[in-house]
């Protein structure tokens, strides 16, 4: 039989554990909320100039595009990626897509690919997003290349291209 003092110690111990666990729970909630608010910086695959704009996976602009995975493509096939270009400035912008020639791995791979998108020539007005389809076409005569990578550049300017 436990004495009264020992029973009181047990109750006190349980109380302490309860307080510790409740504090832990509050910390878990706080951590979850704060973590959801963080913005992950771009890794440099998409580059931006002085005109403020963003490239996102979603129309609300919460998932920034930091890289595009084209998956497995066969000769003659086209890879698709749907993005949202968002004008975050105060003036209309015009955008164009290109790739960094020196970024191709392997270096001779660029001759076997074609990169296009359907952004169009219309200006993108401030606080609007445009849904664009980026397409990477693999030419049928591709040979000697199993994997590839390159940097896509989206340029924006205040005059039509």
């Amino acid at each position: 039989m436990l004495s009264l003092i020992k029973k009181l110690w047990v109750v006190a111990l349980i109380g302490c554990i309860l307080i510790v666990l409740m504090t832990l729970e509050v910390r878990i909630i706080t951590f979850e909320v704060e973590r959801s608010q963080r913005v992950i910086p771009s890794s440099g695959v998409i580059t931006a100039g002085v005109l403020p704009f963003g490239v996102y996976w979603d129309p609300t602009g919460t998932k920034q595009v930091t890289s595009i995975s084209w998956g497995t493509l066969s000769p003659g096939q086209t890879g698709n990626a749907t993005l949202y270009v968002r004008n975050e400035g105060a003036a209309p912008i015009y955008c164009a897509v290109d790739w960094v020639a020196s970024s191709w791995i392997p270096q001779n791979a660029s001759q076997f690919f074609t990169l296009t998108w359907n952004f169009g020539r219309a200006p993108l007005y401030p606080q609007r997003s445009r849904k664009v389809l980026v397409q990477l076409y693999v030419k049928p005569n591709i040979s000697g290349i199993e994997t590839f990578s390159f940097d896509i550049v989206i340029n924006a300017q205040d005059e039509p291209y």
């Binding site: 047990v10 666990l21 729970e25 878990i28 909320v33 979603d58 129309p59 609007r128």
Partner: protein, 131 residues
Amino acid sequence: MGLIPWWVWVLLILIVLLIVWIWKKVIVPVATVATDKAAYFRAETAHISGTVKSSSGVPLPGAVVHTAIEPPVGDVYTLPDTKTDADGKFALDWGVPGDAPDGTYTLSVVSLGALAEATFTQIQAIAAVRV
């Protein structure tokens, strides 16, 4: 059974109950959004409102709410970010542009990773003239 003191059993039961309680309290954000009307005319103001709460119904104050309105054709309208109040509620007004195309619009809000969508219609004002 007889070898384990009674207080160990009580402690184990309490710990299990606490784990279940904490599990239920861990936040899984749930967002809702709605418009005050199902259809709007051009130049009319749409009142948008919604909530951001945990899956157990606890309001999440101070959560940033990102909003976008996708028209049937053309560019997406992005609204300024807002935050939920102490009750986990948010509200926005959006003036339907004068050049807004007719059709169904999709309203999307994202907060704490939770997505909510609603649709509404923009209808052209028709003036009927009888002669």
